[in-house]
């Protein structure tokens, strides 16, 4: 990703800055110019809002064929997370056994390295999520037991 393209979203990526619509009292992530539900009337009523970074897992998957730039993480957990304020976000869930992540689990935002442009390019940092409580693995899930993790 080019430097300006990453740079102009830095506060959104580092600090989870999105928008709050004063008209409809709803939150949006990433930033929006207006609230799609309210339309043009909400233009000018949007203000920056820093999300607290707390949320819960809506759904997740264990990625075995990694996205470009994520090869070193594989297999890793990708999830759709609902932030406590309302908006949803797609993120990797880190610092856990990926197959233990289940819907409803509470997560918190963590600051992590996302990748780099090349060996000599800039490093990309941003927000990922981690489980608030690491589940105790009691028994192997049979459906996954024949897979090399």
């Amino acid at each position: 990703m080019s430097v300006p393209r990453f740079w102009r979203e830095l506060d959104t990526r580092y600090n989870l800055i999105g928008s709050y619509c004063k008209l409809t009292k709803t939150y949006h992530f990433p930033r929006r110019a207006f609230d799609p539900e309210a339309g043009r009337e909400s233009m000018g009523t949007m203000e920056d809002y820093q999300f607290k970074g707390d949320g819960e897992v809506i759904n997740s998957t264990v990625v075995h064929q990694s996205q470009t730039g994520y090869e070193m993480f594989g297999p890793y957990c990708m999830a759709i997370i609902k932030l406590d304020e309302g908006p949803r976000i797609t993120s990797q869930i880190v610092d856990c056994d990926p197959k233990t992540v289940k819907p409803g689990m509470k997560v918190k935002a963590v600051f992590r390295r996302l990748g780099e442009d090349s060996e000599s390019g800039i490093l990309h940092y941003g927000t990922k999520f981690a489980l608030k409580e690491i589940p105790v693995i009691e028994e192997e899930d049979e459906s996954l037991s024949n897979i090399e993790l």
Partner: protein, 388 residues
């Protein structure tokens, strides 16, 4: 508004076509389509090209002029337009030509779809495909295109109890159909067990749930119906057309296990011709993943929500079943060359309605549907075709 008919088709074999360039594929199918239609290049009023990824995979944009030039249409300065909507590029190109003819602006258009996905490495072509979702807030966050569909599948499993066996039945059925299609990339049968035991790509989706990234091209000739008899006796009428969009990111949707844009596009297409789901005799569905075929059939109204998987497993969507789906082999087994896919689907339905589908012919097929979508169904386009 005027009626519009398809008077000619052309298609290449789909697959790893390393000996052929994008322009060669486009020309090959374009020539086949105009020969089939019985027109000459002087009859062509406009050219529409569906192409998703030439900029990413070939470093070539301006595909419209490239195709017009290589197909010898620049002497007459035929207007050429490239249409891009990820994997829905082909279907959307068809709709642009349909509207131009229906609106009376032109009489005859050639609509082609062409894509080269195997000139680059697997990881490059996979990343290119994921550009159909939100590159900044999905792909760059680590989500592969398969992982988004994996969450769609898991959500469908959680809510409706959809099973591994039902998803595998989609692939098994589509390969069975492809075994009768000489243009298919994988013209052979595979067992449901082979699908269920293939390697995990992104849980719960396995390798044989996923369509390949292929090379291929397809073309059709569209003509104002009032002038079609001048060229051919076996024209197929486009009786319905609908298009819809949705949020680019999956996470912004209320339900992960639905693809509402497909339902809305289908409803608009049905309304434009006064037909209903049970009027259809044959359907081509955009099965980029097995779960997509299950959900699309539910969105279109062929089956109730949560019931498509069981009906597919019972064989209702096989040739000879109640409503045959993806007689070409679908994206899974005919192959998936993004810009070409939407047109290849139309070619299959035209062959079925003409009675030219050979071993995979659906008996007495009179009305067919084509459902083509891009990304995680952020763009959906549906056409309904009828034998004249």
């Amino acid at each position: 508004m005027r009626d519009v008919s398809i008077i000619g088709t052309g298609i290449t074999k789909f697959g790893e076509l390393w000996d052929k360039s994008l322009r060669q594929l486009g020309l090959e199918t374009g020539l086949a389509a105009i020969s089939d239609a019985g027109i000459t290049s002087k009859d062509i009023d406009a050219l529409y090209i569906g192409n998703m990824a030439a900029g990413s995979t070939l470093q070539q944009e301006h595909v419209s002029a490239l195709m017009a030039d290589y197909c010898g249409l620049t002497n007459n300065h035929v207007p050429a337009t490239r249409v891009e909507a990820a994997s829905a590029s082909g279907g959307l190109a068809l709709r642009q030509a349909y509207m131009a003819i229906a609106g009376g602006f032109i009489d005859i258009a050639v609509v082609g779809g062409a894509e080269k996905m195997t000139d680059v490495s697997d990881s490059e072509s996979s990343y290119t495909v994921s550009m159909g979702s939100d590159e900044q807030w999905e792909s760059k966050a680590g989500a592969t295109f398969a992982s988004l569909h994996a969450m769609i599948a898991q959500s469908h499993i959680d809510e409706y109890g959809t099973t591994r066996e039902q998803m595998s039945a989609v692939s098994e059925k589509n390969h069975h159909h492809a075994s009768m299609n000489p243009m298919a990339q994988f013209p052979f049968k595979i067992s449901s067990e082979a699908v269920s035991n293939s390697g995990i790509v992104s849980s719960p989706l396995r390798m044989l749930d996923c369509a390949p990234n292929s090379d291929g091209a397809a073309a059709v000739v569209l003509c104002a119906s009032e002038k079609a008899s001048k060229f051919t006796k076996k024209s197929i009428k486009i009786i319905g057309s609908g298009q819809a969009s949705d949020t680019l990111s999956l996470h912004h949707r209320k339900f992960l296990n639905r693809m509402p844009a497909i339902g809305v596009a289908a409803k608009r297409a049905f309304e434009s011709c006064g037909k209903k789901p049970n009027d259809l005799d044959v359907i081509e569905i955009h099965d980029n993943f097995t779960i997509s075929e299950i959900i699309a059939l539910e969105e279109i109204g062929i089956f109730k929500r949560g019931e498509a998987g069981a009906k597919i497993l019972e064989g209702e969507t096989k040739i000879g079943g109640k409503i045959p789906v993806n007689t070409s082999g679908g994206l899974k087994a005919r192959g998936h060359a993004p810009g070409a896919t939407g047109i290849a689907q139309v070619v299959e339905i035209v062959q079925q309605l003409r009675g030219d589908a050979g071993d995979r012919q659906v008996k007495n097929a009179k009305i067919g549907m084509v459902e083509n979508h891009g990304g995680t169904a952020a763009t959906a386009v549906v056409h309904i075709l009828e034998a004249e």
